[in-house]
């Protein structure tokens, strides 16, 4: 490998960001020297221009801050998501409790439903309840009708007396 090829190799390494500090020093010394291969003239301008770029002092600090804020945002998003998962879990658990305690559970067999009563007994009790309800309502409306009639009679007799 001749000198020009070697400098090209160092330049490739430099642009790839893999060049060591000693390699970079070698490149600087070559381009600052008296003889530069004419094929590398354009490369020299580019290399020196890049070398003139000043890295601001606070750049590292700003980069660190940006990385930290991005990390914090990611954590916040994760915490927010976790909170929503917890909320959804709490609601789901509550619904499950309500469904278990309030709503009738599962499919029951006829025997489980009937329990200790026969169908005839259930029918008899239901009939008894319906009849009691009915008689109470009828007795109540009859009493109300009778009471209204009596009240009208009393009012009429009083008005006759007046």
């Amino acid at each position: 490998m001749n000198k020009t090829d070697y400098i090209r190799y160092l330049l490739d390494e430099y642009y790839n960001g893999t060049l060591s500090l000693s390699g970079e020093r070698e490149l600087r010394s070559y381009f600052a020297g008296d003889y530069i291969d004419p094929e590398l003239e354009a490369e020299r301008d580019m290399f020196l221009a890049l070398g003139d770029i000043q890295v601001p002092d606070e750049l590292e600090e700003r980069l660190n801050e940006t990385i930290y804020s991005l990390d914090r945002e990611r954590k916040t998003r994760r915490i927010g998501l976790r909170r929503w998962i917890m909320r959804a879990g709490a609601v789901a658990a509550t619904v499950a409790i309500v469904v278990t305690l309030v709503l009738p559970s599962g499919k029951m067999t006829d025997e489980e439903i009937i329990g200790s009563m026969t169908r005839e007994e259930v029918a008899a009790h239901t009939t008894r309840v319906l009849e009691l309800m009915s008689r109470t309502i009828n007795a109540g409306s009859e009493s109300a009708g009778r009471a209204t009639s009596v009240a009208i009679e009393v009012i009429n007799s009083q008005s006759d007396n007046i």
């Binding site: 009937i114 259930v122 309840v129």
Partner: protein, 157 residues
Amino acid sequence: MKRIISLLLFVTTVMVASAFDLAEECDNIKGVSTISINQAMLKLVSFPDKGTNPVDLEALSSRLDKVQIINADEPAPTAAVKNMVNRYISSAPRFERTMKMKDGDESVMMYMRTLSVPRANEPQNEFLIIVEDTPDITVVLLVGRITMDELANVTEL
């Protein structure tokens, strides 16, 4: 977090209110007998003999959701049942006393409330009748998609 706590409190209150079952509460009182028939039971019931009653009891019972009978015939259990019924009435909103009849030691009270209107023109009503004949007490509770007129027709003729 506050919302979750509020939601849990609301759900707990609804659960406690829904969980007040009169017959079950009275079951714990010594000297009280109870009968509780739920909707699933009522669907299995058949009324073989209609007799002279023109009302189709089978069709009527298919629209019932709950039937409960509570009975006590000793002073202490009767007082406990009365106390429990009063608690039930005061804890259940919209209960209205539709009737009260008193004749000597015997009195009959009837309460009613509309629970919900799940289907058009078919409100779910709750009827509660308390029959007291000192020292006896009988409490009858009926829930179903049934009206007072329909109930009255059961023994009208």
